[in-house]
């Protein structure tokens, strides 16, 4: 299989071309079949590659195949090479597997949508770029995948383009990502300038014996991490992800939960050999990760939109993955990436099933309303039993209750934070874990338990989704249960099999690592018990508030109104970004601002874009249309240029 590794990304590309060019002629059935089949075959091939890798001795598990010289320019030579090592093998397995399940689900979810062929072709294209991103053996290929997934994400968020808000959300996501990509690109140029090569092999070999100044590596890694904060929605660039929920729900599941947003984590893990040389960056990563984790978790506590809660939960969980990388536990971070892909995809698909059912009921009852507001749900347990049970499994998994998958991956990260010498990070991560359990169960109870709080005439129209949508839920539910069993820690009698499998990919980082924390079995037990206790506490609290005594939250909120307001308004971050921007602009001149009357819309991105646009409006005034003014400007320019050269 490794000789034909290129087939894995090539198949989705073929699917994109077929569906994109011929989709309208083929009909929806064929489009759905082709779109899913190419991913299915890619998944089978990924399994084959994985098995082949497992068959090799541990130290030979590094297959680097160059298919042709892709581009060459002087000292810059980039082959088109794909790298199959434990890290990328696991990633292609997760990406193609989850994608396949979501493609199947989409057949049902998008049924009857006028943009059906477009949807599947974009989805295929996304998988192509994602596989390219994780399989490439050098930075340019990774960057192309990186940009490509961003592009597809943008196209899919704005998929229902008739809606202005959705199109704006897509654009916001794209531009925030570009801001991050800017950092990534600078990092790449610095790598090229420092190491003179752009292949992982070349850079890691030099990094291994690095004797140069550490500051260079610090800046490189910081730039790259800045890129990761854009793609993986971390502070300060997380603002786009909640808005990105405007896209179709399977897209949220695939791109904004399971795969694309984890690209930043993958990138950090892939470059572990560089990050290991920059302990300062690692500390920044750990702190940004854990702060994002708790920050997003608190916002999720009060949000009432089923998808937005999941979006903030995703941001929070991505924070955990970065904590894992930041404390040097790359394998733990990647393990959490995998289990998160299972249960978060499941949560989104379950939410999609709920939205689908409510939307349907809305249509039947001739009612126009928000199908995502959990305040008008409730009691769906009986109406959507499969969705309920799978959703509940995912909630337990994300809350970190053993033996569900989330427990093993999250607990390992928390434990390694303590063991790696970051106890403060560990404590915050633990508190965030408790909050996670609370808000997830709040979501579960409000959605599925109690009585129906929507309109009575709708209740009769609520039906479980078709099997093509529920079967993927069941499969993901099983994975959410057993997915973590490959990472059972030694103290519980497990073998940490995934960590051992991934170890060769992080070998150089391990060698370079300066962190050698102490390992005490009793401490590990203590951390484990504490985090489980916090999770159980969170669940019980949610139960007490939303099942036993629904009046309690209202009373509590009345007492802490300011806090509630702060959380509900997402810490006013969008507004703060706005405000900071407005102040900057006011400094440019209040009168001019009013004159142009640019409304302040939304957050830093629009703000910055507006600032630049405003500058454009001002500068273009210099272009008066009068030849004499142009000549004068030219003359001034000439005096400046020539004067500088003469008097220098």
């Amino acid at each position: 299989m490794s000789n034909h590794l290129y087939l894995i990304p090539l198949l989705p590309l073929a699917g994109f071309l077929i569906n994109g060019l011929l989709g309208r002629k083929l009909g929806d059935k064929a489009v759905g079949f082709i779109g899913s089949a190419v991913i299915g075959i890619a998944f089978v091939l990924s399994v084959a590659a994985f098995v082949e890798l497992l068959g090799l001795p541990v130290h030979e598990r590094h297959i680097d195949r160059t298919f042709f010289t892709w581009l060459a320019a002087g000292s810059l030579e980039v082959p088109f090479g794909l790298l199959l090592d434990p890290l990328s093998a696991l990633m292609i397995l997760v990406v193609s597997g989850v994608s396949f399940i979501i493609h199947i689900y989409s057949i049902g979810y998008m049924h009857g949508d006028p943009g059906y062929p477009r949807y599947f072709s974009f989805l295929n294209l996304f998988v192509f770029f994602m596989l390219l991103l994780v399989l490439g053996d050098n930075y340019p290929i990774m960057f192309i995948g990186w940009e490509g997934v961003g592009l597809c994400s943008y196209l899919l968020i704005g998929f229902w383009f008739t809606d202005e808000a959705r199109a704006t959300a897509g654009k916001k996501a794209f531009i925030v990502n570009r801001v991050g990509d800017f950092g990534f690109l600078i990092g790449l140029f610095l790598i090229f300038a420092t190491f003179g090569t752009l292949s992982y092999a070349g850079v890691s070999e030099q990094a291994r014996y690095w004797v140069g100044p550490g500051s260079v590596i610090f800046w490189i890694t910081l730039c790259m991490f800045f890129g990761a904060t854009g793609k993986s929605a971390q502070i300060p660039l997380y603002v786009w992800l909640p808005d990105a929920m405007a896209g179709p729900t399977p897209v949220s599941a695939l791109i904004h939960a399971a795969t694309m947003v984890t690209a930043g984590v993958y990138m950090v893990a892939r470059n572990s050999f560089l990050f290991a040389l920059a302990p300062a960056t690692l500390s920044i990563i750990a702190w940004v990760g854990v702060l994002t984790a708790i920050f997003a978790a608190t916002i999720a506590l009060v949000n009432n939109d089923i998808k937005k809660v999941l979006a903030y939960s995703t941001i929070s969980q991505l924070g955990y993955m970065f904590v894992g990388c930041g404390v040097g536990a790359y394998a733990a971070g990647i393990t959490h990436l995998m289990t998160h892909a299972f249960f978060k995809a499941l949560l989104f698909l379950g939410a999609g099933s709920v939205i689908h059912a409510i939307q349907h009921a809305h249509e039947r009852a001739g009612f126009v309303g928000d199908p995502q507001d959990i305040r008008y749900m409730g009691g769906l347990r009986r109406k959507l039993p499969t969705t309920y049970w799978t959703f509940a499994v995912a909630c337990v998994a994300i809350a970190g209750i053993p033996p569900f998958s989330g427990f093993f991956s999250k607990d390992e990260i928390i434990w390694r934070s303590f063991a790696g010498g970051h106890p403060a990070v560990g404590v915050v991560a633990m508190i965030a874990a408790g909050l996670t359990a609370f808000y997830m169960f709040r979501l579960l109870y409000l959605t599925f338990h109690g009585g129906w709080r929507g309109r009575r005439d709708q209740a009769d129209h609520l039906h479980e989704s078709p099997p093509v949508m529920t079967m993927p839920l069941v499969v993901l539910g099983l994975l959410s249960i057993v997915g973590g069993w490959v990472a059972i820690p030694h103290v519980l009698g497990g073998g940490m099999r995934l960590e051992h499998f991934l170890a060769p990919s992080f070998r150089i980082a391990e060698e370079l690592s300066v962190m050698h924390g102490h390992h005490s079995v009793s401490a590990e037990y203590l951390v484990m018990i504490l985090s489980v206790a916090l999770a159980v506490g969170g669940i019980l609290w949610a139960r007490a508030w939303y099942i036993r005594n629904p009046e309690a939250p209202k009373r509590a909120l009345a007492r802490a109104k300011w806090l509630y307001r702060l959380l509900l308004n997402k810490y006013y971050v969008d507004e703060i970004y706005d405000y900071a921007f407005v102040q900057t602009t006011l400094a440019f001149g209040d009168g001019a601002w009013r004159w142009f009357d640019i409304p302040i819309v939304d957050g830093l991105v629009n703000g910055l874009a507006k600032l630049v646009g405003w500058m454009g409006m001002v500068i273009r005034r210099v272009q008066t249309g009068l030849v004499s003014n142009y000549a004068l400007m030219m003359a001034i320019g000439i005096i400046l240029v020539v004067g500088y050269m003469v008097w220098k």
Binding site: R620, R621, Q623, T624, G625, L626, V627, S628, A631, L632, A635
Partner: protein
């Protein structure tokens, strides 16, 4: 007191600046055009005086090319100004600003 190279060069620079000033201050397209011709002739003067004092023949050759090109420029330029005049009935360049910003 001898009249050396620098005298010619200063004269050429002066002519050139008069030309530039004409372009910048006048509003009549024809006058602007004449000012540009003045700039070109200042250049010619510089070329010839350099060529005379270096001494090197290439300066004079260059001047022939400049004169030929200037003649072609006159032909094209006057035609363009005539076109503008047909539309606007004026050659005031301040009236020519349909496109801006």
């Amino acid at each position: 007191m001898t009249v050396g190279l620098s005298w010619y060069l200063w004269l050429s620079a002066l002519l050139f600046c008069i030309g530039v000033a004409g372009v910048l201050t006048r509003r009549n397209a024809l006058i602007i055009f004449m000012s540009i011709e003045l700039m070109l002739n200042a250049v010619n003067l510089a070329f010839i005086s350099f060529g005379r004092y270096l001494p090197n023949i290439d300066g004079q050759v260059f001047v022939f090319f400049v004169m030929a090109v200037a003649a072609a420029e006159v032909a094209v330029g006057l035609a363009i100004i005539v076109t503008i005049f047909r539309h606007k009935e004026t050659v005031d360049i301040d009236q020519v600003n349909l496109m801006k910003w």
